[in-house]
């Protein structure tokens, strides 16, 4: 068996994003906002659409602040963003076409 060993990854990566508590606060607030809208504070179509948009924003925050992934992490960053755009489009389009 070959004696080659895989190189150890560097530990030089720094994260210059939000403090974790701030990311959590924004995510929690967005979650509560979505529920309040669903309870009837705004018309149904607005509530549902905003719920999907808020979900997309929340996921984007999870990508960047929790997972620490950026657009410059290719191809992963763009792939995940493409996934997010696709599912948001599916949810919004099918809702509005119903």
């Amino acid at each position: 068996m070959s004696a080659e060993r895989s190189p150890a990854p560097s530990v030089t990566r720094a994260h210059a994003g939000w403090p974790v508590w701030l990311a959590w606060l924004v995510l929690a607030a967005a979650s509560v906002a979505g529920v309040l809208m669903a309870e009837g504070l705004v018309p149904a179509r607005v509530a549902a659409s905003l719920a999907f948009v808020l979900a997309a924003l929340k996921i984007r925050i999870v990508f960047s602040q929790y997972m620490e992934l950026g657009w410059h992490h290719r191809p992963l960053g763009p792939l995940l963003d493409a996934w997010l755009v696709a599912i948001t489009a599916i949810l919004l389009l099918t809702y509005w076409l119903t």
């Binding site: 030089t12 990566r13 979505g34 529920v35 669903a38 509530a47 929340k58 992934l69 792939l79 119903t98």
Partner: protein, 188 residues
């Protein structure tokens, strides 16, 4: 300090992305089903407990926050702190199992199950598959807690912490979509 290096492990990212694509298909299947029977789906949605759904969301977001904090602590060399944060992530996250159990039990006690109607089929299957992912995530958290202590090269420990963290955040973000799709999508 470079930010260009991708966190975690490329193989684990592949697994995560494949799983996310599977769930994307679930979202599409549900959405198409809802287009065909909007009244049925709205009636089903109205029977879901919004507060429990919100609780589930906040639990996973909070657990995720502790996971993210653990990664930052580890990167700074504070493995003791990282271990504590991971333990907190595990404990907080375990509450999700309780709320889910309460939610499902309530449904089943009211005679609502997997084959009640199409909405609840998808509800139980998708939240069930998500729950399986959650359980695996709990195991991953447990393994990471153990690895914090081991005498392994720091770079390897950090890579696996990031990889495990990425998986846990995936569990979180998939629930964000499920919550919006199942609970918040009120019909006009």
């Amino acid at each position: 300090m470079s930010r260009s290096e991708q966190p975690g492990d490329s193989g684990v990212w592949f697994f995560i992305f494949a799983d996310m694509c599977t769930f994307a298909l679930f979202f599409l299947i549900f959405s198409l089903g809802r287009m065909a029977q909007p009244a049925l789906y709205e009636a089903g949605r109205a029977q879901l407990d919004l507060m429990l759904g919100l609780a589930n969301t906040l639990i996973l977001l909070t657990s995720g926050a502790f996971m993210a904090h653990a990664t930052r602590q580890a990167r700074g060399g504070n493995w003791t702190g990282a271990r504590r944060s991971l333990l907190t992530a595990l404990v907080v996250g375990s509450a999700f199992a309780l709320t889910k159990a309460v939610e499902w039990a309530t449904k089943l006690n009211h005679g609502i199950g997997l084959t009640t109607n199409e909405f609840f089929t998808y509800y139980f299957v998708f939240t069930g598959v998500h729950f399986l992912h959650f359980l695996i995530g709990m195991v991953v958290l447990g393994v990471l807690i153990g690895r914090c202590r081991r005498d392994l090269p720091q770079a390897d420990r950090l890579r696996w912490l990031e990889a495990g963290g990425a998986y846990w955040h995936m569990v979180d973000l998939l629930w964000i979509v499920l919550f919006a799709m199942l609970y918040l999508q009120r019909a006009a």
